[in-house]
Symmetry: C2
Subunit: 340 residues, 2 copies
Amino acid sequence: MAKKKPGSRGKKDRTYVVGVDLGGTKILAAVVDQTGSILSEAKRPTMSRSGADKIVLRLAKTVRKAVEEAGIPFKKVAAVGVGAPAPVDPRTGFVFHAPNIPPLRNFPLGERLGKELGLPVFIDNDVNVGTVGEHALGAGRGTKDMVGIFVGTGVGGGVIVDGKLRHGFRNSAGEVGHMIVGFQGLPDEPICGCGRPGCLEAYASRTAIERKVRAAIAAGRDTKLKTLLEASGKDRITSGLLAKALKQGDPLMLELMERVTTYLAVLVASIVNFFDPEMIVFGGGVTEALGEQLLEPIRRDAPKWYIQKEGADKIRIVAAELGDYAGVLGAATIARDKLA
Amino acid sequence: MAKKKPGSRGKKDRTYVVGVDLGGTKILAAVVDQTGSILSEAKRPTMSRSGADKIVLRLAKTVRKAVEEAGIPFKKVAAVGVGAPAPVDPRTGFVFHAPNIPPLRNFPLGERLGKELGLPVFIDNDVNVGTVGEHALGAGRGTKDMVGIFVGTGVGGGVIVDGKLRHGFRNSAGEVGHMIVGFQGLPDEPICGCGRPGCLEAYASRTAIERKVRAAIAAGRDTKLKTLLEASGKDRITSGLLAKALKQGDPLMLELMERVTTYLAVLVASIVNFFDPEMIVFGGGVTEALGEQLLEPIRRDAPKWYIQKEGADKIRIVAAELGDYAGVLGAATIARDKLA
């Protein structure tokens, strides 16, 4: 590290940023240097029902704790970036509503946390932030145009155009889980969490898989998923449990994998035919648990729908690399880019 | 017009461009001034089976004829833009294959026409060119991000990002007709012209409508479309014929309209959820023939699938304004922009 110049307190001397991943259950903060390396991290429960002011204080404490752990003076921090599980206005840091953190409804989180810390604070949607992380420091390094698809309880995404995160006209770009892939207008087709038929998320999320499993069990189907679910003592089918059933070659799980990977291939093809990006990065809990067994069939099937076949194999479909750190690293990247 | 300066032959003095719409049956060329106004036009049959060299000569003749009609000296033309019904490399003007003009397979059209005319020639896909026309001089004037959707025999499209045409990683962006909206993996679902199930074009193109009409007639359904088709003496169901049946309130046509507009609404919503553009412009023969009766239900239904409801009504869904002139005006715009 360069020797500290006494008296110099300009931006140039503030070489660190803090990236914060604000989740429904926990806050993760990390101090990130100019090379994108994490120097330290701190974690704290969100206590999502405790009131907006207390959440702001808890965020600030987590940031300060991470800086303390890094062993750097607080004044060396130039800015803070936050990924929030909510639609936000990225210019103002205003949070519209956060389903998993109810107190943050119509709340000026960026402004409030900025005042509390005495630092510029930049906020974006968590999936956008994860996409930026993978683009800047993960699987998408060096690409110009990239789409992130995060398959978990739901399916979220982010779009990088010309090296920059695309927000769109109303800051709602990247909602790949609500691209409509299977609409038939029939009374019995799957309905998405958003209330509409045909969305990708109604076919290829953990929630969609769980619904299919429970229906099969209710219909008396013999499946290892039933035994595993009972043994887990949990009330939901986790991604880890799906991975176990897959490893054991459970026939129902194999059927569901085919359905899920086919719809994810259809999603990829829709995106490719519309947007023709250089790379698609898959992340999220379901992707992490199922790994190449999820990605390989997508790579095989998506190009069948590409309307342009030339160069089909040049569009890379890869796994995210940063795992749980995509959030803090993406938030740190956003903070640094905004200062530049 | 400014007085001609003798001896000055630089680009600045060449204030006109020629836009060319190369179709499977005819070539339309127009001289366009700096304000985007058409000064003159010329038309000629493509004679699409006559050989690539002859097509180049015919294109050049049509350009020269348009310039003659404009009453300007040829040396005042700065460049020529061409919209071709084919995937092309817009940097080189190389045409990969043109289904409706078979001789233009793997043909350096830009280079050859450039040599023939002694002018810079810029070539792009016709639907991209139409989108540029509508953005620069038609319905999309002043928008930053716009998507063009052209519903005709097939369904094509183009994407404007930050005021510029998006080509994508492999120059194949904007293929909205092959966004997958209705995939079910069932044996009897509609198959697209591209050979795959689920594409928008399999549900909402003139071809898709015609297939449904013929199936209904074959099944003995009583419909005015049958009478109109027989009376037309044509071997295909034109957009004009569809408009007539709609005007007459034919029940089958009303059913098909609902299906088509629903799938187009689903397409719009998929694009909005992924890309969040400012405007969607609908053009093409089917749109022109059916007009507001096509657009109004799309405007009504698409927002039902928008995952972000705030500002839904700010995304404008409008009819194209340039009709058959989108091609020549878009091609002229591309030529002018490339020179700038």
